[in-house]
């Protein structure tokens, strides 16, 4: 009698343990929920949640628990503590998040020591994925858009001269380097490079834009962080009458971020951007994604490229949960993600088996007015773009 009870109890316990173990996957999320990055954190967070909501059968029988930690600012210190505690106290199976590159860079040694898969959902400095063998990125590298745009500017837009304005921090410098390299490789010439203040407070762009206007280039390539910087850029471009002066404003899609685009209104018309995602992309996954987003978060809201970074990142995590049957061991997880393909709202994506960075389409779009709102019309497309910085091993991208 006792033996039977013990046997049943042991079986129940074993079943409970293994099923609990197989059921729950803990995802540690490090995002700047307060401070200047709060808006972006919300977008990525919502993207992650939306994937889980829209694809419950893909997640079954596992349960993904998100353990959120606020990293507060881009200084790196708080991100390190947050990641450390997620690993040692909460014992997460996977790490995710990182809006700001300095935080991802500061976290790298801890990620490596912690031996857990870490999915970067936004930070864009090119060489970050080299800093830890456990980093996988589902967002972007600054070189994706910048390099592709340099080529497109010379070939499709037939521009000969360009002035580059960029926010003076590594993603800005990456963008400048990427654009300049491919633009000049295709016969163009960058005639002025204007650092336009820091990534913190939005400066008044008027003096910088005035300088660019005075140089009379064919194109003005601008990179600024998405958000308020981008809104200010478009406003200043319109206010200084640069379009009438014949200077086209181009840049990575950060400057036409979907969440700011409608507020820019008519001033944004004519902007030409190169990006991997915007909400007007015409494919079935995106239609489903945008519709679900509006239903879940409000008809006046829209997803943007940061949300997609979260969405696709969560898709990757769910994929490995399924592939590894809930037991996430990092080397097996990396194997499962190498060459992983997914039909994302941004089009088909793949994780590069060598660099662990993302490979995706880049779309050249022009902002037009359609049905009373600003609409981004795709006028060109480049398939399967890799991060050129790591591919060509430029500067810090040459792996250690």
């Amino acid at each position: 009698m006792i033996k039977r009870i013990i046997a049943i109890a042991a079986a129940a316990l074993a079943l409970g343990l293994t099923s609990a173990h197989a059921q729950e996957v803990k995802v540690g999320v490090a995002l700047p929920y307060t401070g200047i990055g709060a808006e972006f954190a919300q977008l990525v967070d919502r993207g992650m949640e939306l994937y889980l909501k829209l694809n419950p059968d893909k997640v079954k029988p596992y349960k993904l628990t998100l353990i959120r930690r606020d990293v507060k600012d881009p200084s790196g210190a708080n991100a390190k503590i947050a990641v450390q505690e997620l690993l040692t106290q909460d014992n997460v199976d996977v790490l995710a998040g990182w809006i700001y590159s300095p935080n991802a860079i500061a976290s790298a040694p801890i990620v490596t020591a912690g031996k857990k898969l870490a999915v970067i959902m936004n930070a864009g400095t090119a060489h970050i994925t080299n800093l830890s063998p456990y980093y996988v990125r589902t967002s972007i590298s600054m070189w994706h858009a910048g390099y592709a745009l340099g080529e497109a500017a010379a070939k499709i837009l037939n521009a000969k001269t360009a002035v580059v304005g960029y926010t003076d921090f590594p993603p800005g410098k990456d963008s400048l380097a990427a654009f300049k390299r491919s633009f000049e490789a295709n016969g163009g010439k960058v005639i002025d490079e204007i650092p336009m203040g820091g990534a913190g407070a939005v400066p008044d762009f008027t003096p910088f834009f005035q300088r660019a206007k005075d140089k009379k280039p064919d194109l003005f390539f601008v990179f600024v962080p998405a958000g308020d910087h981008a809104a200010a850029v478009v406003k200043t471009y319109a206010a200084l009458g640069m379009r009438e002066a014949g200077i086209k404003l181009i840049g990575p899609g950060d400057i036409t971020q979907d969440t700011k685009l409608q507020a820019m209104g008519a001033a944004a018309v004519g902007l030409i951007t190169m990006h991997h995602y915007h909400a007007d992309l015409d494919n079935p996954e995106n239609k489903r994604f945008v519709e679900a987003w509006k239903k879940e978060y409000g008809a006046n809201t829209t997803p943007d490229f940061m949300a997609v970074g979260g969405y696709d990142g969560m898709a990757a995590i769910v994929h490995i949960a399924q592939a590894l049957k809930g037991k996430i061991e990092v080397d097996a997880a990396l194997e499962a993600l190498k060459g992983w393909k997914f039909a994302s709202p941004r089009g088909p994506i793949m994780i590069d088996p060598v660099t662990r960075d993302i490979v995706m389409n880049e779309y050249l779009s022009e902002a037009v007015m359609k049905d009373g709102r600003v609409f981004q019309k795709v006028i060109g497309k480049i398939d399967g773009v890799k991060d050129a910085c790591k591919e060509q091993k430029i500067g810090p991208c040459a792996s250690k």
């Binding site: 307060t34 401070g35 200047i36 709060a38 808006e39 919300q42 003076d168 204007i194 650092p195 336009m196 203040g197 820091g198 913190g200 407070a201 939005v202 400066p203 008044d204 008027t206 003096p207 910088f208 005035q210 300088r211 005075d214 958000g227 308020d228 809104a231 200010a232 406003k235 206010a239 200084l240 009458g241 969440t259 700011k260 507020a263 209104g265």
Partner: protein
């Protein structure tokens, strides 16, 4: 001719930026000069006022001008209440306690706005007559900048007249120069403080709304630009409207020019400049020489 256009555009851009700085900072200068109170929450009032203006336009369809008035009045009222209830308790206190209090207040303002409205930038759409370009003869320039310059000149004139020609203005100036003497002359200092504080915060709100086109409007506004406001106040000299005005213009124009011609220096120049100005005239450009 080219040089003329270049110079004019630089001047206009810089003066417009300076006007925004002036409008927000004038309240800070007067309250610090008059009350000797370090109000680091001043940027918070600018932020709250800006939000009041933007939201009134968005949700209640206020026109730009109506919203500005609304923002001014609302912020002035709220700040008056806060002044009587909380600030007044700290008037004799150590300035560090004042710093602690006002920073705590600003944190609460930022957190409340983030929770109630959201962390994203609030767009503020200008009325059509302020958009686009305007023809000024030698140059076509951004209409809004020109409007700001005009508004700034009007405001500084009104303030100057108010300070120099009205009884209230005289009382304020007297209290700034020598509070004890003013008190012994029968001036109701407490009432003066409240009025001045409310007015200063209202001006900050106005600055927040008017400057939103350049500086944006989000919860972090309260702290992001505080440094610039403090620099303008320190360089201009406490308690003097004219001091703040010229300091704001000087900083606005020089910042603009330096960013345009030497952008590689980044924001370093404005700090270097402020250091030089403050070392040259520690009491501010127009401040009274300390006894």
């Amino acid at each position: 001719m080219i040089f003329g256009v270049d110079f004019a555009s630089m001047l206009l851009g810089g003066v417009a930026a300076g006007m925004v700085l002036f409008i927000v900072s004038v309240g800070l200068s007067v309250t610090m000069g008059l009350m000797g109170f370090v109000n680091l929450a001043h940027g918070g009032f600018a932020m709250l006022g800006g939000y009041a203006i933007a939201l009134a336009m968005k949700h209640w369809g206020f026109s730009f001008v109506t919203a500005l008035v609304f923002g001014f009045v609302l912020t002035a009222a709220v700040s008056a209440v806060l002044e009587r209830a909380l600030y007044a308790r700290l008037y004799g206190a150590d300035e560090l306690d004042q710093v602690l209090f006002t920073i705590g207040l600003v944190f609460m303002m930022i957190a409340s706005v983030t929770l109630l409205v959201g962390p994203e930038n609030q767009p503020l759409t200008l009325p059509p007559f302020l958009r686009g370009q305007i023809n000024l003869g030698i140059i076509q320039y951004r209409a809004y900048s020109v409007a700001l310059i005009a508004i700034g000149i009007v405001i500084v004139s009104v303030l100057w007249l108010g300070f120099e020609r009205t009884r209230l203005g005289a009382q304020i100036r007297a209290a700034v120069d020598n509070r004890r003497m003013a008190e012994s002359l029968g001036i109701n200092i407490a009432r003066l403080f409240t009025i001045t504080f409310a007015f200063g915060s209202g001006m900050a709100a106005l600055g927040g709304g008017l400057g939103a086109e350049f500086l944006g409007l989000d919860p972090q506004y309260a702290l992001k630009y505080l440094v610039y406001f403090l620099i303008v106040v320190a360089v201009g000299g406490l308690g003097r409207v004219s001091g703040v005005f010229w300091a704001a213009l000087l900083i606005g124009v020089l910042d603009f020019a330096l960013k345009k011609y030497v952008p590689q220096g980044g924001t370093a120049f404005i700090y270097a400049l402020s250091i030089l100005l403050l070392l040259w005239r520690p009491q501010g450009l127009f401040g009274a020489r300390s006894a």
